[in-house]
Symmetry: C2
């Protein structure tokens, strides 16, 4: 007997679930309800459309062969009925039906289901401040938003804009509008951007972004100020006023669960629909997938909200299979891998940051490695990685990576390593694809594992930039030793009271070091490989308290002398 399968939501998880259900069962009736006009939008692509990476909006709605995924496509290619511009207003679990309204004609109707999939996605948060309805205040969450911002690019009239929120979508929007020639200010309520990164990693991003836009942290929007209904400025909580004609609000999203909640479906503590590993809700006939759900963090075992397009697809695939076959396919959860591009930088994280490891009360050890992705002769570019591992099991817990180098590959490696339960030692003998156009002989990820391995086995003692900065600010009695070459020192230096003794002269200049062998010495170089060698050398000569500045100059998040 063929089923009636109803899917609410036509963005990512919904269409994926519907398509998978069709492949499992050729004869079920499958209907997708979509509140807006468009279907299967590549919503993660909006910033690139706005930023002018391509001009045809339909590319966001197309199959790889260029067919727009409209209701006709769904009907002909997949025998799926896609009811667009149609909002589901109620889930009636008793009658096993949904009530809906055509948002254009106002016509209402009902449809029975045997199995229902809720894929209602998320809603953008909007700060509840005066002026939020002014013309010029928008989000970048829908195709309509994308069309609106793209028109602003094409019109070329707007000169000043503000992006509120320094998360993933905020920084992507910053790039997009910068590429439209708009003068930008980013406002972040927290002390740092991109909270999936630890502070010092986020600081490196902030330093980079400051070369492109004005960045204000520790401040929030208090009011959108307008004239004749149009935005003219943003007033901040600090009182500061920033003139602008456009404000894009990107302060996160929340699960869109109104329908589910009203139907009495169980909602989790974080405000998402509660599902099991089969993506089944508290109602056995109802599954859910995508941003509207809470899923399990595979490292901590706790529920999380993880509104990522890739996970929406995987969850939808599992839900779509299970509505046909019964709960058999499994979506185990997430390690919360994410990445974004900001101008020439890739920036991302997988697993636990140090902050998250602390929160989860894990016994962890972390290290920073700053080094190139490829040989110099193949135009290698810098990568900065922070790796976090369990101190006892030595299993990888998380990695953050950023820089102009090949960040995507690094994160893919670490994400797979975490999935596989690999240890730092396993990764230190990683067998990765090496050729000069693609990597160094010792890949950046393997080198990072080597450094953490050395740190774990106490071959060196590391010090973070933040800790060193604190010591300097508190005027602790330390000796800071830069072991780079004189030419490098002349070009760029920290200016934190350091002494320069190049590594290749160090063995002959021991007399320039503190006489007191117990004195705390901090060594570093560009990336702290020579800094490490210097530390080993001094330790062998009786110095008791030597620390290596992790990541060296390349990972220094503070102002440099030059």
């Amino acid at each position: 007997m063929s089923k009636n399968i109803v899917v609410i939501g036509g963005s990512a998880a919904g269409p994926k679930a519907a398509a998978r259900a069709r492949r499992m069962d050729e004869f079920s009736e499958i209907t997708i309800f979509q509140k807006s006009q468009d279907l299967s939008m590549a919503s993660c692509g909006y910033p690139y459309f706005v930023g002018g990476f391509f001009d045809d909006r339909n590319k966001l709605l197309c199959t790889p062969t260029g067919v727009v995924r409209d209701p006709e496509f769904y009907f002909n290619a997949k025998a799926i009925i896609a009811k667009v511009n149609t909002e589901v207003t109620k889930i009636d679990r008793e009658k096993k039906q949904v009530e809906f309204v055509d948002v254009i004609s106002g016509e209402t109707g009902t449809m029975k289901y045997n199995k229902l999939i809720i894929a209602t996605g998320s809603l953008p948060n909007i700060p509840p401040v005066p002026g939020k309805d002014l013309e010029g205040v928008t989000t970048l969450q829908s195709m309509k938003d994308a069309d609106y911002l793209r028109k602003i690019r094409d019109d070329g009239k707007i000169k000043k804009a503000v992006v509120i929120g320094g998360g993933l979508i905020g920084v992507e929007t910053l790039e997009a509008l910068n590429l439209a020639g708009i003068d930008l200010t980013m406002i972040e309520l927290l002390p740092q951007l991109l909270t999936f990164l630890d502070w010092e990693m986020a600081a490196l991003v902030e330093n980079y972004l400051r070369t492109k836009a004005n960045i204000i942290t520790n401040d929030g929007v208090a009011e959108f100020i307008g004239k004749e209904g149009k935005l003219t400025a943003v007033r901040l909580q600090s009182g500061k006023e920033i003139p602008c004609e456009l404000a894009v609000v990107a302060v996160g999203v929340r699960p869109n669960i109104e329908l589910a909640k009203n139907a009495g479906i169980q909602i989790g503590k974080l405000g998402g629909i509660k599902v099991d590993k089969y993506m089944q809700t508290s109602d056995l006939n109802i599954y859910a997938a995508g941003d509207c759900c809470e899923i399990t963090n595979l490292i901590t075992g706790k529920s999380v909200l993880a509104p990522y397009g890739d996970l929406a697809n995987l969850e939808g695939r599992v839900a779509g299979e299970n509505v046909v076959n019964g709960s058999t396919a499994v979506f185990p959860g997430t390690i919360q891998t994410g990445i974004c591009k900001i101008f020439d930088y890739g920036i991302g994280a997988t697993g636990l940051s140090e902050t998250k490891a602390k929160e989860a009360e894990r016994n962890y050890i972390a290290v920073i490695n700053a080094s190139p992705d490829k040989p110099g002769f193949m135009n290698g570019k810098l990568l900065v990685t922070k790796l976090v591992a369990d101190k006892k099991t030595e299993k990888i817990l998380g990695a953050q990576c950023l820089g102009p180098g090949d960040v995507s590959k690094q994160l893919a490696i670490w994400a797979t390593a975490i999935k596989g339960g690999l240890t730092v030692g396993d990764m230190a003998n990683g067998d990765l694809p090496y050729a000069p156009p693609f990597s160094l002989a010792v890949d950046h990820s393997i080198a990072t594992a080597h450094i953490l391995q050395n740190k774990m086995s106490k071959k060196f003692t590391g010090i973070s930039a933040a800790e060193l900065k604190r010591k300097i600010d508190e005027k602790e009695d330390i000796f800071i030793l830069d072991v780079r070459g004189k030419d490098e020192f002349d070009q760029t230096r920290l200016g934190i009271g350091e002494t320069l003794i190049p590594l290749d002269a160090l063995r002959n200049k021991l007399n320039e070091l503190p006489e007191d062998k117990k004195k705390e010495i901090i060594t570093y170089c560009k990336i702290s490989l020579r800094g490490y060698e210097a530390a080993v050398m001094l330790k062998a000569r009786g110095y008791k308290n030597i620390k290596v500045l992790e990541g060296g100059i390349m990972a220094w998040p503070y102002k440099k002398e030059k």
Copy 2:
């Protein structure tokens, strides 16, 4: 008591071992013997120097900060004595000393060791045919070779060259000389290039390379023909003569074990030095690392020769640590990951190919996926992946990947998955870094796992291009169904007797299909996703014998009609 550590070999494994030993012990005497002038050459970079990717040969010998790694550098920065132009002629295990000769002055000497590391690398194979000593016959294995070929590029006089051997170094050399404006012919003794790939994957490479050079397979060199001591042509075993002024021989390498063998150190069946997981040889005071060793394949458990620069570094690191600390650090072995760039293609493999899985008598299942690395709107480029998994445990055994897309990331993912013992199901729910500039929402690797998962659970039956070709050649009674759009069909098609019924019309054109529901039907499209959907649709309508052409048109290795 400080030790005397002697290292024979100054290319990759040797210097790495010496540097690691120094970091373990500041006060040992450490000496590297290097037969040639240069040290620590990035030998994998030779083709890019020859090909003009950069001009300064010293870049192959530099630290990341631009310091040439010469004996002075080693002495000053690492307190390591590097004796270049000095050949070790004998290892005297009884006296625990090496005998050496200065290859310039002819002076001889001996040096005692407590611990010895053999890192003598490999020697290029040269076909034992007449004329191999003619001017113009060379390899690309040494800095001297690289200088010689680079001069040929810079002089611009040579117009025709032959590359003998279609392995990694052969194809890289082909690109390098092509970029020097030389007309090229590649000669491979075997029926296919790049034997780490399965036949049909290698065929895709061959098709691509034929757009750049003349490729001859199934033929070997019989004679180098010369005039006045200079190469003028190569005569093949088939009798064919190819006029050329340059022939680069790249028919593999063999471990350089003469010294070890003469000293009575145990040699393995494959001709490499036998070492345990500590890189220790049969003599407890002697370790070995790099191309001269046999190491363990972690999937098959068998010994292999794996002359890769990345492994040489990892092995050297372990040997260098162990000569100081005793056998504690472990190099477990290899899964034989390799990659190369050929013009715009990345090409590589990790783990077992289907051929190797067969040889190892594994119960495997394999599938091919051809699909882009990124969305169309971000200029996604094609990747073709062949994935091999254990049929019973469902663990990933191997992956091959090629194409203009981001091959390096794909292979890094699979290599890490194999290391972590991940299954196809684990990878089907992979949590990889997704944003449009870096990948599709469902990454190519995850999509590949999905396809293999569907195949394993018999949601579809696949057929390889080779098997379909056989059926066509043997005129089997099959119905071949292309389900792409008419416009796509007009642009390119296989021309193998197929019928075109676009997927979106198929449900209404069932009458154009064979009446006999038992008839064998092969479906496909550009990448066989629509082909898969068509197969599902027909199966539901009672067709019993439907197969999907794996990888579709994009993975078809034979001539197409258009």
